[in-house]
Amino acid sequence: MTPPRRDQPQSLIALWRNPVARAWIYQIAILLAVGLGAHTLFQNTRRNLEEKDTVSGFAYLANEASFGIGEILPVPVLEGGLIHLLIAIVAGLFLVFLLSRWQKRRGSTIGADTRLVIVVFILLFGVPLAVLFYSGDTIRAIHYTEANSYGVALMVGLLNTFKVSLIGCVLATLLGLFLGISRLSSNWLVAKLSETYIEIVRNIPLLVQLFFVYIAVLRTLPQPENSLRFFDVAILNNRGLYLPSPIPQDFANLFMLSIAATLTGIYFWRRHVKQRQDRTGEQLPFFLPSVAALVAVSGLVWLIFGTPFQLEYAELRGFNFVGGLELSPEFTAMLISLTLYTAAFIAEIVRSGIQAVSKGQREAAQSLGLRGGQTLRLIVLPQAMRVMIPPLTSQFLNLTKNSSLGTAIGFAEVVNISGTIINQSGQAIEPIALTMVIYLTFSLSISMLMNWYNAKMRLVER
């Protein structure tokens, strides 16, 4: 066998035998195939759109919407005071970020120096509050009417999505925490009831539950004249749920400000208590003085300046209730079903989080002399939290994405508004793409935050 000559085809074979080169050949081929596919789809779409005489692009967003929305929240306009406020917040965040980098380079953290913590507080809360105080009057909001544009309609939908998701996340967490702890209860009946609830709710599609709540429960409620009343505070009928709404009085701002100031003071007191305990082992009282300070300050402001908020109750006028906080049947159904559904999943996360903390940790804490509450607060929960928070976040994201089901019952969230825009304007691609981008931005930013949090937790754990 003669050795192969070192010229011509051999080099090509060698290229094919080289794993790196081969990987690149594959990748280029795949990229070409994907590009060709995308090109074909694009060409087909273009021809289809030409046949239908559809104008592509996002110009339609400026067109008049001319459809009504049942659920309207004021849309703040990006001008004047809002811009100032946003600049103040972003600048504050950026400066704090720089500060933390600077401290890190010096081998320290912001938390190590009380003066820096004060600076951070001023940057994050003080400056934006001051800006709000001085140019808050110039913040303008649009109250949507049919004459507004598609873009404004979409913003209203976005706000509705946020509203139902935010309240839903809070309620679902509370209910889920309760269910998850009940599931581990030493009371057999309570544990079984909780398990039954979880197993029923988890195995039925959310959409079925949503329709059930909306059509089978809320639609069968009485007319406004025969509403169900809970001590006249909550009023429930087939037009929705009515709650008293707090109307801010003259000194409401001062009241809120005094509470914020007290909370800041409590934070610094807690810092002081902790540092003192770390240094000397002496435990200063924390909980009772904090509550006392909060009650005293807010009570004092209340007494001197009068009630900061007056409750306005809904009243029956003619055939309908007027005033107060009105929650439409769609919103109520959405909130109830999202909360009940997500709570079942959160309960399982809570249960597995608590069970993930090994029994030895609890026993060790007890042998050190910690009381039951201390064990839970200082030993079990911090460790359970580390396990629970990533799946919890993904449940919150799920809840937000699931709020898109509101379109099925006509709750005016993003997907519902987009659907109406598709039907009215004849645009097919752009509204869907826009909706996807909205959800995607939200999901990706939350998961980035999550990765940051996980990295931080890992650092702490070492």
């Binding site: 789809l41 030493s186 059509i215």
Partner: protein
């Protein structure tokens, strides 16, 4: 504890009486403190109230028989509703005279599933080939085929539980291989472009709600095909479901791939296997075995998610129900239908999830 009890039993005059064991159990588990006793009583009262309500609604105040008119007077459950509409819930508007076909498919699937109880059969690769073949045959039975002289049934007539099952089973069947490829791509070390494409796809799909993908499938997908091509509505939804599910599959499979120790791959390379051989014979068989329980959970999630096709106008369980209650005869009978649909989903999903947790326990036992 156990041995002590056993000794006591052995030495004493036989077992304590039944009522004493029961009382002891109740003291320990229901009345171990005054607070727990209070909670137990409250829970019992709640159960009693719910039970009274349910019995009253479903049995005492219910309307029986076949006459829709009797439901108008009754306050409770309308049994005639089920007697009349259960066929619609099962197969939708599928032609009545052809209803033997879905039945045939059920028998076919049962026939293929039964041999699976034997371990030897399950371990043969041919068994899975038979499953795939059965799927194809089932599709032809339901849809019909011109070249076999089986009359065609338009997909617009498919509905009910049948459509739900078709969408979810085909969804999982097609998205699984796509998911495996995506997971391998995402784990690829040497191909950054492929990795970026896979990561982009997976994160894009997982970041948006299914309903937007279904809207895309029903509104945008037809535009992707050459003009004049008429895309079937059910097929469009099915494509949307597959594309959606593939991203979730990929993440599940990736979890399995990550659990395989690096030594396995290095050993395979040392023996001289190339990438595809390593994956096909060493990594995937182990990884896929690990991910069977989460795969089953994904299937349950997908089964529940298929209910969204009702929003884009398909006649699955929810869609056909909307049609039924639009019928003046059954106007106002919403509750019965939703309870029935919920029950169908619950029975299927709960039994599958119980099976999955059994599997998981068996795997865990096998590992120790």
């Amino acid at each position: 504890m156990k041995s002590e009890a056993a000794v006591e039993h052995g030495a004493g005059a036989g077992k304590p009486p039944m009522w004493s064991i029961a009382l002891g159990w109740m003291r320990r588990n229901l009345f171990n403190s005054w607070l727990n006793s209070l909670i137990t009583l409250a829970a019992l009262w709640m159960i009693y109230e719910v039970a009274v309500f349910l019995v009253g609604w479903a049995l005492v105040n219910a309307a029986y028989g076949f006459d829709p008119e009797s439901c108008r007077a009754a306050e409770g459950l309308c049994w005639p509703f089920f007697a009349d509409t259960w066929k619609l819930f099962m197969v939708g508007r599928y032609p009545f005279e052809l209803r033997y076909r879905p039945l045939l498919v059920v028998l076919l699937i049962a026939g293929v599933a039964v041999p699976g109880i034997f371990r030897a059969v399950r371990q043969s690769i041919w068994y899975y080939a038979v499953w795939v073949a059965a799927g194809v045959v089932a599709l032809f039975i339901i849809r019909g085929a011109d070249f076999l002289n089986i009359s065609l049934v338009n997909t617009g007539l498919w509905g009910g539980l049948m459509l739900t099952m078709i969408l979810s089973v085909a969804g999982i069947g097609f998205s699984f291989p796509i998911g495996v490829v995506l997971a391998l791509g995402r784990r690829s070390q040497s191909m950054p472009i492929v990795r970026a494409l896979c990561v982009g796809y997976i994160e894009l799909i997982r970041g948006v709600p299914l309903i937007t993908i279904l809207f895309m499938a029903s509104n945008m997908l037809p535009l992707f095909f050459p003009p004049g091509f008429d895309l079937d509505k059910v097929l469009a939804a099915q494509i949307g479901i597959i594309l959606f599910s593939a991203a979730y599959m990929a993440e599940v499979v990736r979890g399995g791939l990550q659990a395989i120790p690096r030594g396995q791959i290095e050993a395979a390379e040392a023996v001289g296997l190339n990438y595809w051989q390593t994956m096909a014979f060493i990594v995937l068989p182990q990884a896929l075995r690990i991910v069977i329980p989460p795969l089953v959970s994904t299937f349950i999630a997908l089964l529940k998610d298929t209910s969204l096709v009702a929003i884009i106008g398909l006649y699955d369980l929810l869609g056909i129900h909307a049609q039924i209650i639009a019928n003046p005869i059954w106007l106002g009978q919403g509750v019965e239908g939703y309870v029935f649909i919920g029950l169908i989903y619950w029975i299927i999903c709960f039994s599958i999830s119980r099976y999955a947790s059994k599997l998981e326990k068996r795997f865990q036992a096998a590992q120790h």
